[in-house]
């Protein structure tokens, strides 16, 4: 089943020529109307005329998350306030968040991408889809919501939390499909079992679109064997729009719709474009975005690309399962966390000495983050109550800036490891 057969099955040659035309007009536009990108092209001595074929994209300068931060909130926008119809906000690498904006067309393409993706995994108007991603500033909830509505599914906007209630709704409403993080689905399975509900026998849940955190084929196998739910990987970041692209029924890579995004794989150190099939850092150029163009944006996810036509009939390039990051970003319960954000938050607290360790584990299906901090000598009190207050304060500050619960452990000065060269402050014990 296809949502947009013409585009999804467009012969590769035609698709590449379409991509070239889109790229050319995008670069012309940005060079003429976007000060940020104009200056960057000037600095790299690139002119729109230098783009004479699709491969010439490699002449264009990269964009980084730091650019979004430096231009916070809207200096990079290429649409006026009257054209922008929505914002989403995600965590930045330090204090300031990352803001993304959408025009009506941007929302349209995001929804279109999801409509194609959901159709490709067989979700349609006969389905009832529970969206158990966070609604609100995070892109997951609203993104999947509009995508599922677009294909005519009955949408249950469950959001996150209240797991027992969610399971009751799955059962009572005959929910057939769910979108959430893979670890949350495993958690749902565990809680259902405790409630005496067998997802396979007692519910109609058969399909899951899972993403926003790394997972593996082992986890897929576990979900399918224990719950009888067929699981599909979904990919996307807020800089692209949000979660956008999924695997098809073949499940051999995520279809990155070629009319919407142009993907490259680069060597993260040299920045050189790698050959098809080689593993490297994913770089995306969003071909349709209006409010906030992304040209050669370095997402920092590690994957490889496959341009072969898929047995499903789609011609869009596919990326393999994300195998890691080329930076130190952590994904905790589906939320992106940069150690630099944690550091930024801790350094603002005068009672702390600046040394810290981040320990991530998985208990059951859920991630647990413990942050060990050294207190300054003068912050030490003989009263447990004072110390507990300090700990609670640090936890509240982290919650405020990271939007995620972390447990804090107070340590005496000098207790945590010191690093002579590159600090290794993160211990991630999770197995995906």
């Amino acid at each position: 089943m296809f949502w947009n057969t013409k585009i999804e099955c467009m012969p590769s040659e035609e698709l590449r020529s379409l991509q070239y035309r889109e790229l050319k007009s995008l670069v012309n536009n940005l060079y003429s109307f976007n000060k940020f990108y104009h200056d960057r092209m000037k600095a790299e001595n690139v002119h729109p005329d230098d783009i004479a074929c699709l491969a010439d994209i490699s002449k264009l300068p990269f964009m980084y998350k730091q650019d979004l931060r430096d231009n916070y909130p809207t200096n990079m926008f290429t649409a006026s306030n009257s054209e922008v119809v929505r914002y989403h906000v995600s965590s930045g690498t330090t204090g300031k968040p990352t803001l993304v904006g959408y025009t009506r067309n941007d929302l349209g393409y995001w929804t279109e991408a999801l409509a194609r993706s959901l159709t490709s995994v067989g979700i349609g108007s006969d389905d009832t889809m529970q969206v158990s991603y966070g609604y609100g500033l995070f892109t997951g909830g609203l993104g999947l919501h509009y995508g599922a509505e677009k294909v005519g599914a009955t949408v249950l906007p469950a959001g996150t939390g209240s797991t027992e209630r969610q399971i009751e709704l799955i059962k009572d409403l005959g929910v057939t499909a769910i979108a959430c993080t893979p670890s949350y689905l495993v958690h749902i399975g565990d809680v259902a079992k405790k409630m005496g509900i067998d997802i396979r026998r007692d519910t109609k849940l058969r399909k899951a679109v899972l993403g926003a955190e790394p997972w593996s084929d082992n986890m897929r196998k576990h979900i399918e064997e224990t719950m009888g739910v067929r699981a599909y990987d979904i990919y996307g970041t807020s800089e692209m729009a949000g979660p956008m692209f999924t695997e098809c029924e073949e499940r051999n890579g995520i279809h990155m719709a070629g009319d919407i995004v142009y993907c490259e794989i680069i060597d993260p150190d040299s920045g050189e474009v790698l050959e098809e099939g080689q593993k490297g850092e994913l770089v995306v150029t969003m071909l349709k975005k209006e409010a906030m163009p992304m040209i050669r944006y370095r997402i920092k996810d590690i994957t490889s690309i496959d341009n072969e036509e898929c047995p499903c009939g789609r011609t869009s390039p596919r990326i393999s399962r994300i195998s890691g990051r080329s930076d130190d970003m952590l994904i905790i319960r589906g939320i992106n966390v940069f150690p630099s954000q944690i550091e930024y938050t801790l350094l603002r607290i005068p009672q702390l000495a600046g040394h810290y360790m981040i320990i991530v584990t998985r208990e059951g299906a859920l991630d647990r983050m413990v942050i060990q901090v050294e207190i300054k000598e003068e912050a030490f009190s003989d009263k447990i109550e004072d110390m507990n207050k300090l700990r609670a304060y640090v936890e509240a500050e982290l919650k405020k800036y990271l939007n995620i619960a972390a447990e804090v452990e107070l340590k005496a000065p000098g207790e945590l490891p010191r690093f002579e060269s590159k600090a290794k402050r993160v211990i991630d014990k999770r197995v995906f």
Partner: protein
């Protein structure tokens, strides 16, 4: 005025990991610090060892030199007679005088059972106890 009625307690930060208390105890031994009374308050991630020692000033300097996180705290100490209601007398006097006991620990001293207390206003607490006729144990006696 307080004539030794206010006693210096050492409060020591102890990370809650196996062997940490043993390490602190070994430092105390190395520094030849004798404890008359101690109490351990713990939280999930750390503990606070509160100790009444000989020569708290000297012990404080020795521990600091060893890199131990230590703090001096004023506490007071009352003798608890071996009769019902002994603790009540002191607590009642504090209650009436608006003094708050932040924590306390009882210890079987050389001659008698004693109760060490950290209060919000030690000077006033000493006055209240003296006025109520409750015997204070002074630093010379511990």
């Amino acid at each position: 005025m307080t004539d030794g009625s206010i006693i210096t307690q050492l409060s020591i930060f102890v990370n809650n990991e196996p062997g940490r208390l043993a390490y602190i105890a070994s430092v105390l031994k190395e520094c030849d610090i004798n404890m008359h009374a101690f109490n351990l308050a713990e939280s999930a991630d750390f503990g606070i060892l509160r100790a009444i020692v000989d020569d708290p000033e000297g012990a404080y300097e020795k521990l600091k030199a060893k890199g131990v996180i230590v703090r001096k705290t004023d506490v007071i100490c009352v003798s608890i007679e071996d009769t019902p209601g002994a603790l009540f007398k002191a607590a009642d006097a504090f209650g009436k005088a608006g003094i708050n006991i932040e924590y306390g620990y009882a210890y079987s001293g050389r001659k008698e059972s004693v109760f060490y207390m950290r209060v919000n206003d030690p000077v006033k607490a000493v006055q209240v106890l003296e006025d109520s006729g409750i015997r204070l144990v002074t630093s010379g006696e511990v």
